[in-house]
């Protein structure tokens, strides 16, 4: 007997066509692809250093490296020379017989691996036309020939003054210790070194100098933004040992935490900005400057420590003598500084109530070329960034937070200090202006670089291995801070912006070593930032995401996380299985494209022949009539039956839907045959008269994602239904879903708010809609919307009156 009366089609299982390739595991029958397979074989095995919850393990360790550095800056020859004393504390369980140091300046040697392996990127068109190279590129080639770059290592000596053998390997140097360094021991050694600072205008390094030949000072002026400026210890880790991979220029750094005491001897008219706190303000600052600094601690707006007028006066001529500025920084992973007689300097205190570091001095240093763009916004943006990032992670633990203007850098980050590029433009009338795009860039870049104070300067991820861990996470958070600065400014992490990249054929997974990434911008910045945005807004929800992310930040504050630690913590703290998400977004090049292919409606049979048969009759009637018979009618052609109405029998008055007692008896015995609970279910279903819809969904892009459905009903009401990504777990390419509704459905849209980076919108509609291309939309809006109007010009337009009757020229 047919007891189950719902006409539900069983969901068929159609397997997709690609094979599963996981380490040691293969799908060798059929072609099923498990997009939800746990990352067991992919993630490293948890251990005592990093546990299965993504936290530092109970025997977590990291090295400590303390530096005492004293260098002189020779402005005339743009050269740094001096010595550093390094104390290396071996907290690892291993015995070390040698140490590795990074010699990043060697990247600028003409024979460096970075230089020798760079490919020609001038123009090489068809064979019969000349190749082209820019004068800019040619200048850098000549410059590399002319100036000897890279470190001069004069000596490496141990604490007793004995030379230590050292071997330079590209951008690395191995120092062989006099005796093996056991676990728990420390060793001190000294390096005397020098190097020519790189011309930032020519090679566009992360740190270098900028020359201003047009200043009043007849020798011109220099602005130094100095980084990667001393031999630094390579990180020794539990997951990779020595992270001694050659610096090729793209993959950035990973370093050890330690304490720094730094003495910088510079021309006496220079102002110096640096990581850490100034130790000898009495010797290098005037009484007025010190007073202003104190005022700034409680000021509502930034206070000039060096005013624009004072800076202009200062840069008119140079000096012969020098001053030594001393800085100290605790528990930092690097140290950078800037020095120039051109610097305007402003500061404002930022108070963190209840924090260990209650007062943070936010400060900006910029030449007159930065202008009001800098004095109005830079320091305020620094503070805004600290406020937002601390809310997502932890209180800012350092005493200073600096934004320094170096024209040759887009933006670059170090502990407590950032170098940022935006400038004003000098107009013919002597004024300095900036465009709206430049203003937005300044705000964006300062937020981004200051954001790096947290990731990776405190949450110390390995930038050379996994650039996305700092750039992706930071790009996500900078968009959060940006939107809290001014929601009107487009910050660029809307999911729809990444789709062109994600559908492209020329890309590599996010989980790719930095030097091998094909397009670093979208790969390490925008795509992971978009993924994290989607994780928070769509997959996890803000509450669970924020708790888990804060947990990750706090667990790894001043420690060294790996991707697995991030992936695991986000799952552990939220209780959400995210392996499918990490797999799809970080380990593959799939893109998101969900489609709704078909919807069909079903109605429940009541089994009551008096109802069901008459419904069937209605259905039959609703079918279009036979075209042939219609045309006969139109021709006036009567059938035999119509012409002979006197001949009729039973079947002329009873069609095939006529109900007899035979059916009624069968219905009664059907009801009697039901168990009590079956009868209750049946009666309720019949009385509710609900609508049953089956949705056929397809996953075209391959990346599994939740299906967000916006249902529109005949009564005008709307409903959002969010189906979790797990709907794809047994079939990642096609599924059917039953939706039961009181209302009758009119249309369905997948992802109506475009929150999932779905690449093809057209197949998100049922019934299908034609989605105009950008060009079609552009034409229908008669040209470009309102954003790009020249309002400053258009506002001068006079209002036309009725008397102006000449034809308008649009």
């Amino acid at each position: 007997m047919k007891k189950i009366v719902l006409l539900i089609t069983a969901i068929s299982t159609v397997f997709s066509s690609s094979l599963l390739f996981a380490q040691g595991i293969q799908q060798t029958k059929g072609s099923f692809q498990d997009k939800f397979r746990q990352l067991d074989e992919v993630l490293p095995t948890p251990n005592v250093y990093r546990n299965a919850s993504g936290q530092p393990g109970h025997e977590y360790w990291q090295q400590e490296v303390d530096y005492e550095i004293a260098v002189s800056l020779d402005e005339d020859t743009q050269r740094i020379s001096g010595t550093e004393t390094i104390r290396y504390q071996n907290n690892s369980p291993d015995t070390l017989s040698y140490l590795w140091l990074q010699l990043d300046q060697n990247r600028f040697r003409s024979d460096s691996m970075g230089n020798m392996s760079s490919t020609f990127n001038g123009s090489s068109p068809a064979s019969n036309s000349p190749a082209r190279i820019s004068l800019d590129q040619l200048r850098s080639i000549q410059y590399m020939e002319d100036v000897d770059h890279g470190y001069e290592i004069n000596f490496v000596r141990d604490g007793a003054g004995n030379d230590l053998p050292h071997t330079i390997v590209g951008t690395l140097m191995r120092v062989d210790l006099a005796r093996p360094l056991n676990s728990g021991q420390d060793v001190e050694f000294e390096i005397d070194y020098a190097y020519h600072i790189v011309n930032g205008d020519v090679l566009r390094p992360r740190g270098g100098y900028e020359y201003f030949p047009d200043d009043e000072n007849e020798d011109g002026n220099y602005l130094f933004a100095i980084s990667q400026w001393f031999p630094r210890l390579v990180a020794y880790t539990d997951y990779e040992g020595w992270t001694n991979k050659e610096f090729l220029g793209s993959g950035e750094f990973t370093l050890e935490f330690g304490d720094y005491e730094v003495s910088l001897t510079v021309p006496s008219d220079h102002i110096v900005a640096a990581t850490g706190e100034l130790q000898n303000a009495n010797q290098v600052l005037t009484r007025t400057q010190r007073d202003r600094l104190q005022q700034a601690e409680t000021a509502d707006r930034p206070v000039f420590i060096v005013t624009p007028q004072e800076a202009l006066e200062n840069e008119r001529e140079g000096v012969e003598d020098t001053k030594t500025w001393r800085f100290a920084a605790e528990n930092v992973r690097d140290f950078a500084w800037g020095s120039s007689r051109k610097f305007i300097w402003d500061a404002k205190g930022y108070r963190q109530a209840g924090a260990d570091q209650e007062l943070v001095m936010a400060m900006s240093y910029y030449p007159k070329e930065g202008g009001t763009l800098w004095s109005d916004f830079s320091t305020e943006v620094v503070i805004h960034t600290l406020e937002v990032y601390s809310r997502f992670s932890f209180d800012f633990p350092y005493p200073t937070a600096i934004s320094l203007n170096a024209g040759f850098v887009g933006g670059m980050e170090y502990p407590m200090i950032t170098f940022n590029g935006p400038r004003t433009t000098l107009q013919d009338d002597g004024s300095r202006t900036y465009s709206l795009a430049e203003k937005r860039f300044l705000i964006g870049v300062v937020i981004h670089e200051v954001g790096h104070f947290y990731f990776p300067m405190i949450v110390n991820s390995d930038e050379r291995q996994w650039t996305w861990m700092d750039e992706g996470i930071n790009s996500y958070l900078d968009s959060v801070a940006g939107r809290e600065w001014d929601a009107e400014i487009p910050w660029g992490v809307e999911p729809r912006y990444i789709t062109d990249y994600m559908v492209s054929q020329n890309q590599v997974p996010i989980m790719t070593q930095s030097d091998s990434v094909l397009r670093l911008g979208p790969n390490a910045y925008s795509k992971p930032a978009t993924a994290i945005n989607i994780l928070r807004e769509t997959i996890m929800g803000r509450e669970l995401f924020d708790f888990a992310f804060k947990e990750y930040s706090r667990q790894w504050e001043f420690k060294r996380p790996t991707p697995a630690d991030f992936f695991r913590t986000m799952e552990e703290a939220s209780g959400i299985d995210l392996d499918w998400f990490w797999r799809g977004w970080f380990y593959t090049t799939d893109h998101v494209d969900l489609a709704i292919d078909r919807v069909y409606q079903m109605r429940m049979d009541t089994e009551n022949p008096d109802i069901d048969y008459s419904r069937l009759r209605e259905t039959e009637k609703a079918l279009p009539p036979s075209l042939y018979i219609e045309r006969n009618r139109e021709e006036g052609r009567l059938t035999w039956v119509e012409r002979n109405t006197d001949v009729r029998d039973f079947y002329d008055d009873n069609d095939q839907f006529t109900v007899t007692n035979k059916e009624r008896n069968a219905y009664d015995s059907f009801l009697e045959g039901l168990e009590d609970w079956e009868r209750a279910v049946f009666d309720r279903a019949v009385s509710e008269e609900l609508n049953y819809y089956i949705l056929e969904l397809a996953n075209v892009g391959g990346l599994v994602m939740p299906v967000i459905l916006q249902m529109e009903y005949t009564d005008g009401s709307m409903e959002e239904i969010r189906l979790p990504a797990e709907i794809w777990r047994r079939n990642a390419s096609q599924v059917k879903k039953l939706i039961v509704s009181e209302n009758e459905l009119v249309s369905i849209i997948i992802d109506p708010m475009q929150e999932t980076a779905d690449a093809d919108i057209e197949n998100n509609y049922y019934p299908r809609r034609i989605i105009p291309s950008r060009i079609e939309s552009f034409k229908s809006e008669s040209g470009g919307g309102l954003v790009g109007r020249d309002i400053m010009q258009d506002i001068k337009t006079e209002l036309k009156t009725d008397e102006d009757d000449e034809p308008q020229d649009n």
Partner: protein, 185 residues
């Protein structure tokens, strides 16, 4: 002034090119801020869409406004304000369409460069879009694309071109010294 001119006026301002002797042609590029460090941009995307609804091949170039503004300033000398000035946008659009070309190949091996009409440009979010179009070609087996926009200003510029036809996406990346690429459709 309308921004929907149908034909480009050609490069309006001076293109500061200088020619060297022999086989080297020098391009002058001024100093531009490097974004290669912690703040990465210098990427552009172009979509070439075979749009059956309109009967056109539609070309949609997307540039970061901030990149485009600096590039326009270098190429056209005076400072350019892309968000404020329609003239700046027109200059930049002209620059772009003069550095982009599509040649189509038919089944008999014949080639012809598409006469792409300039449709206009618009700002959307962080991006400046430049639009071009040409009527769809029926007999078409391959495309050759030349894209040097911004790459003559800064060599690290990478231009991605996605060609969307019959539900398939073909991607071309213009980086390093690549100026011209061909794709079989």
């Amino acid at each position: 002034m309308s921004r929907r001119t149908t034909k480009p006026a050609g490069i309006v301002a001076r293109d500061r090119y200088r020619f060297a002797a022999l086989a080297l042609l020098f391009l002058v590029a001024g100093l531009v801020p490097g974004f290669s460090a912690a703040h990465q941009q210098k990427t552009a995307v172009t979509r070439i869409l075979f749009n059956e609804n309109t009967g056109n091949i539609e070309v949609m170039h997307r540039y970061f406004i901030h990149d485009a503004e600096h590039a326009a300033g270098i190429v056209f000398g005076a400072s350019q304000n892309l968000m404020e000035s329609s003239l700046s946008r027109e200059l930049f659009s002209n620059y772009v369409i003069n550095r982009f070309a599509v040649t189509v190949e038919d089944s008999k091996g014949g080639t012809v460069e598409l006469a792409l009409d300039f449709v206009g440009e618009e700002i959307d979010g962080q991006f400046l879009w430049v639009y071009q179009e040409a009527p769809l070609q029926q007999d078409l087996v391959a495309l050759s694309v030349v894209n040097v926009a911004l790459r003559d200003v800064w060599p690290e510029q990478a231009n991605l071109v996605n060609i969307e036809k019959d539900g398939q996406i073909h991607s071309l990346t213009f980086a390093d010294s690549i100026e011209s690429l061909r794709v079989q459709l």
